[in-house]
Symmetry: C2
Subunit: 242 residues, 2 copies
Amino acid sequence: MGLQERREKEKDNRRMLILESARGLFFAKGFKDVTVDEIAQLSELGKGSIYLYFSSKEEIYAQILRHHIEMFHQQTIALFNKRKTAVDSLLEFSFLYADFFLQEPELFRMLMTFMLRTEQLGFSEEQYKNIVATTRKAIDVISNILNYGIDSKEFPSTIDIKYNQFILWGMLNGIIALYIFTGAEGKRREKIHSSIKSALTTHMQGLKQVNEGFFDSRKNVYKQFAREYEESDDGRLLNGGA
Amino acid sequence: MGLQERREKEKDNRRMLILESARGLFFAKGFKDVTVDEIAQLSELGKGSIYLYFSSKEEIYAQILRHHIEMFHQQTIALFNKRKTAVDSLLEFSFLYADFFLQEPELFRMLMTFMLRTEQLGFSEEQYKNIVATTRKAIDVISNILNYGIDSKEFPSTIDIKYNQFILWGMLNGIIALYIFTGAEGKRREKIHSSIKSALTTHMQGLKQVNEGFFDSRKNVYKQFAREYEESDDGRLLNGGA
DNA sequence: GTCATATGCCGACTATGAGTCATTTTTCGT
DNA sequence: ACGAAAAATGACTCATAGTCGGCATATGAC
């Protein structure tokens, strides 16, 4: 029905409008220093109306995060058109990731806040799953690249994919957090790139050695993790929420 | 003068009392859900009195963080009595670090909040420097271990110490954040240990190869970073705030 | 054209909690 | 026992997230 449909569209537009206004404010001043009244004013709406579209200030924040992670994911897809080594793809992915978040550090703060304080944010299971799924999709690209690296014989087939995805993502986040902390916005980008490049190359170099007797043979760490991982309940994030 | 002195001591005790109360509440409910009135009540003081000892709720939070980082640093010192390889020391340090923060995830949230939102927290330069210095001291242990590893010929002397300290710390934080996100408190500790062990061993294995022609010889990433680093203003955190 | 209904919108109001300050209470030397 | 200095207080101010009763506008039947 035309009417219903038009109404839906209107509603979606209004939602987007609010998100746009809020985004500008959040990026400029940070979550705490933005008031819902300001968002309403910038959207040319009354405060009450904001709550017709979002259940809380936090939800607006989370939706912005989700939207941007989706954008990141889109950019990421292009990586697979160019033919490169897995190591190079991984580097490119990492640079993209870092640049994406550094360009708006508030985005990274959002992500970390979401990761570390999910419970305290009081989202519904629905809202929570939604954003977790989006994040997972974006991060799964790492697995794809690793898989490709095994196929192309760059990495031994014994490495655990999901597990290394996990570590690499953690590494990226850790390094980005560090540089945001360290201030000095000037050469930040170059420096992050340089750090990521070394960290990754070092790590990749290590990965290639997995088979060559470096690990304590009594206990293959990779295998061990893989087993534990299967049994575990991390799945919500990393296995697609089955 | 005895009076002055006693007063000072009283004041310190009162400060500690407030910190104790606040700590319990923060660890139990998280920063946002604790009110200053609650802290006052638990300390058997009026709300106004709290502000005689601390300038804001945030400052209480930061002081708790500082105190605990100092505790961590103390525990860390014992690592140097036992004689181990550098790699093993690094592992032990990392496990200690992870356990320390996992045992009270709110502590880790505090650290990350401090790292990512320093400006928004509105501390004085004094307060800021204070906690940064404490953190740096605790983290410098990584440099000491790396140095030891070079002396003992475990690592090539070409690796950049400060820089690797940087990356390793970032890696630890990233992995911890990930596991706090992933929920599943059950096997969390084992799983973090397993992840850290692999990540570190892989990385160390890579480090040992630094000299062996793996890196693009046109541009030694380590040397490059070292140079940039010297010129930069990251020093506040990593060089001791000169 | 006009009335009824629904849908959307509003901003004054409530609730909460951080931080302040004029006043009271305690401490301690004389 | 007194008075000055120090410490403690809690009622108050102010900011802001979220609510709710009522108003406005659009649609459609007659």
